[in-house]
């Protein structure tokens, strides 16, 4: 059977056909669909965990129990899961375990451009890297065998272009999911110094065996076409190279970026006059080749920044003959923005109006940073809004406590905001934290989380009570406001900033894109009453624009949230 699948669905199919029993993940673009597709199978266990560390540890526990397991995350998620990863390398596995990680070169939806291959090297764990959906399927499926044979977790590295590109996949027979026996084995599974000391040599020995495998395996392939030019490449860079060079260059395609082969590379290099390494992001393969004493052209010609394309390759080899035509007019950018009726907008408007310093976090609400709201001062990583606010207030004292807040979404708060909040109450700053509770994980495309009351399959689940949780974490002042009510938001923010104790404001209204949220009739502008004061324009709502000097509401976009109406001093919005 042949099917057109995005890389992430191919990974899901590969894991399932490879005998997967348990998957636990935290959503993150571009990795989310792997787990979403797996959740459609009813004969395996799938779940959204509160964060990647928990997800990875769940997969570890399932592996220990004898099941084949997996967890999926975006590149920065692996930072969170790095703690279990490094010691998992020592314990190894019982049932096969695959950690799927998706990098995002060019940062389509991420805060940095880190290269996950460094994690495989640092944790001494094998990594596979597919170049299309067929390989995503095959590599995911065979990763379990590799994992069990070499007693190691395996990292499957995706990147945006592979994860979100569809190509044709041919399926092979499903391996039945079995549970291996569990035997108590303290020397292998209890990583305390005396025992871990004994496992470290095993890890080094395993890397040696895996390097032998890398010399001759299905993951690393050679195409000898020319003795002039040789190119070592991997992942989507391979596709761009093939598109441009076809059969005019020899190619060593690396499908296992850790550990890298030695003899295979030396042999390949010896057969070509000029050797190139073409890889996105960091010079990982290039550094390895140089360390072998081989002269190679790499990052001086192929950037360390962003994504490649066939154009990158063609230009580097002086083969680009394609030119496009552009209009002379300046084409204004079209940046992403908060949706019409987004519940975050009202709160951001209030914060921006009152010139509050806002420590932001990761989610749709990062878009509060863009014009005209310009509401954010900082965004670092998941959870950093709350801990960052505390540090900021510790450094500057009362002066900023009364003028600064943290904003964090419900899912991000569950991910890693809670611990920061404990720190605020424990180490006592009068910080004000605003939880933007839109009752869903928004930016990644509506995944359930522990505060929504539903699990990954949409079944009713235990629902974390945010008010009770914040109180239990030591915050006595917890209040809830409706972000569609600007006055209530402003009162809450001013009062909580003024008091001399820490507080939490829960700004609660479900995401307007949720199917359960019914739009109200669109509002309209009475042009006779509109005085062109442009106050409503300050909201940055995509449904409001200026036509002939007067505000105009796009009826196809407006969901009738009524926030703009509260701003109009002339009752022109009806």
């Amino acid at each position: 059977m042949k099917k057109l699948l995005i890389g992430n669905q191919a990974v899901a199919c590969g894991l399932y056909d490879g005998g997967l029993g348990v998957v636990s993940s935290y959503p993150g673009t571009p990795s989310t669909e792997i787990t979403e597709f797996l959740s459609k199978y009813d004969d395996i266990h799938s779940e959204w965990a509160p964060n990647e560390k928990v997800a990875c540890e769940v997969a570890y526990g399932a592996s220990l129990a004898g099941a084949r397991s997996s967890c999926a995350m975006k590149h920065v998620g692996l930072n969170v899961a790095a703690d279990p990863l490094f010691t998992l390398s020592y314990t190894g596995v019982n049932g096969g375990m695959v950690i799927c990680v998706a990098d995002d070169p060019a940062m389509h939806s991420s805060q940095n451009e880190q290269d996950s291959r460094h994690y495989a090297i640092a944790s001494k764990v094998p990594m596979l890297e597919p170049a299309d959906s067929q390989e995503a399927y095959t590599f995911a499926k065979t990763a379990f065998e590799l994992s069990e044979k070499y007693d190691t977790p395996v990292i499957l590295r995706m990147c945006t272009r592979i994860a979100h590109s569809q190509s044709i996949v041919e399926f092979s027979e499903k391996v039945p999911a079995v549970i291996k026996d569990y035997e108590k084995n303290p020397d292998k599974y209890i990583m305390m110094p005396a025992k871990a000391m004994k496992r470290h040599p095993f890890v080094e020995e395993r890397m040696g065996l895996l390097t032998e495998l890398a010399e001759d395996c299905m993951y690393n392939t050679v195409e000898y076409n020319s003795d002039e030019i040789g190119i070592i490449t991997s992942g989507c860079s391979y596709l761009y190279v093939k598109e441009v060079m076809g059969d005019s260059a020899s190619i060593l395609k690396i499908g296992m970026p850790n550990p890298l082969p030695v003899k295979l590379i030396k042999d390949f290099a010896s057969k070509v006059k000029k050797l190139y390494v073409i890889e996105e992001l960091d010079p990982v393969i290039e550094n390895h080749v140089r360390a072998l004493g081989i002269d190679v052209i790499g990052k001086e010609k192929f950037s360390i920044l962003g994504e490649f394309s066939q154009q990158t390759i063609a230009e580097a080899f002086g083969m680009n003959d394609k030119v496009g035509v552009s209009a002379d007019s300046v084409i204004p950018p079209r940046p992403p923005m908060m949706c019409a009726g987004c519940p975050h907008r009202g709160m951001f408007y209030v914060l921006s109006k009152n010139k509050i310093t806002v420590h932001g976090d990761i989610g749709c609400y990062t878009l509060g940073a863009v014009a005209p709201l310009n509401a954010l001062d900082s965004t670092l990583c998941m959870g950093a809004s709350i801990s960052g606010l505390h540090g900021y207030n510790v450094a500057r004292g009362e002066e900023t406590e009364k003028k600064s807040v943290a904003v964090i979404g419900d899912s991000t708060f569950m991910h890693s905001g809670m611990t920061g909040l404990v720190n605020i109450s424990y180490n006592a700053t009068n910080s004000t934290v605003i939880i933007l509770d839109n009752s869903i994980t928004g930016m990644t495309g509506h995944q359930q989380n522990p505060t929504t009351g539903y699990n990954i399959k949409g079944e009713i689940a235990a629902k974390v009570d945010l008010e009770a949780l914040c109180k239990a974490l030591g915050i006595n002042r917890v209040r809830v406001v409706d972000p569609y009510d600007l006055k209530a938001c402003e009162t809450a923010v001013k009062e909580e900033l003024a008091v001399a104790e820490p507080s939490v404001i829960i700004s609660r209204r479900p995401c307007v894109l949720l199917k359960s949220v019914k739009a109200k009739p669109s509002l309209n502008v009475d042009a006779d009453k509109c005085k062109s004061c442009k106050r409503c324009m300050g909201l940055g709502c995509p449904a409001i624009s200026l036509k002939d000097g007067k505000a105009k509401i796009d009826n196809t976009l407006c969901v009738g949230c009524g926030v703009c109406k509260q701003l109009c001093a002339f009752d022109a919005i009806i």
């Binding site: 979100h164 394609k322 300046v330 079209r334 992403p336 949706c339």
Partner: protein, 190 residues
């Protein structure tokens, strides 16, 4: 057969996903090697979105670069201009004349180049502009802009009309099939 490159561009939320799904499935059924590439996540929130569809005997790269596209199907005027440089010399732009102001225009920080399609035509680009929104409304829903435009672009492919209709039946949810068939037809016979 040499690889053909189709770009579908528009504003996040305009339905480019369905258009590429329809086209991708149809091309696979026609026996081509096919790659479809799009980016999910932040850019979908009202931002500029682009989907690449490539097909032929053997397709390597999933993306399309400058001067490579055979057809650009644009759901919005400004987006057609943004991606015009990706068009091949003898390529075709099929564009919906709808104007959706981006935020910099809404807040007065930038101007919308109203006559940009004329500008592209003057530069020698083959531009077919149409009011796909009106046709979509005529078909039964303003959301059918995507299928109206697919209908208009369909003539550029060496695939019979009936196969497109079958592909719509296989791709679209049952209750929307008739409306989308009508939308396709309005675009096809425009």
């Amino acid at each position: 057969m040499e690889t053909k490159s189709i770009m579908i561009v528009g504003v996040g939320g305009q339905g480019s996903l369905l258009a590429s799904k329809l086209l991708g499935r149809l091309l696979v059924d026609e026996g081509y090697d096919v790659k479809v590439s799009e980016v999910h996540g932040m850019s979908q929130r009202g931002g500029s979105v682009v989907t690449y569809v490539r097909f032929g005997d053997k397709v390597y790269s999933p993306i399309i670069t400058e001067g490579e596209a055979d057809i650009i199907i644009s759901f919005e005027k400004l987006e057609a201009a943004r991606y015009a440089k990706y068009l091949k010399k003898d390529g075709l732009v099929v564009v919906n004349t709808q104007q959706i102001d981006p935020m910099p225009v809404i807040i007065g920080a930038a101007q919308y180049p109203e006559e940009v399609l004329t500008e592209l035509t003057d530069k020698g680009l083959n531009v077919e502009a149409m009011d796909a929104l009106s046709l979509a409304i005529q078909a039964g829903s303003p959301k059918a802009v995507n299928i109206v435009l697919m209908g208009r672009a369909a003539k550029q492919f060496d695939i019979p009309y009936e196969r497109w209709i079958t592909a719509i039946e296989n791709t679209v949810a049952e209750r929307f099939v008739e409306m989308n068939k009508k939308a396709f037809d309005l675009g096809y016979n425009y």
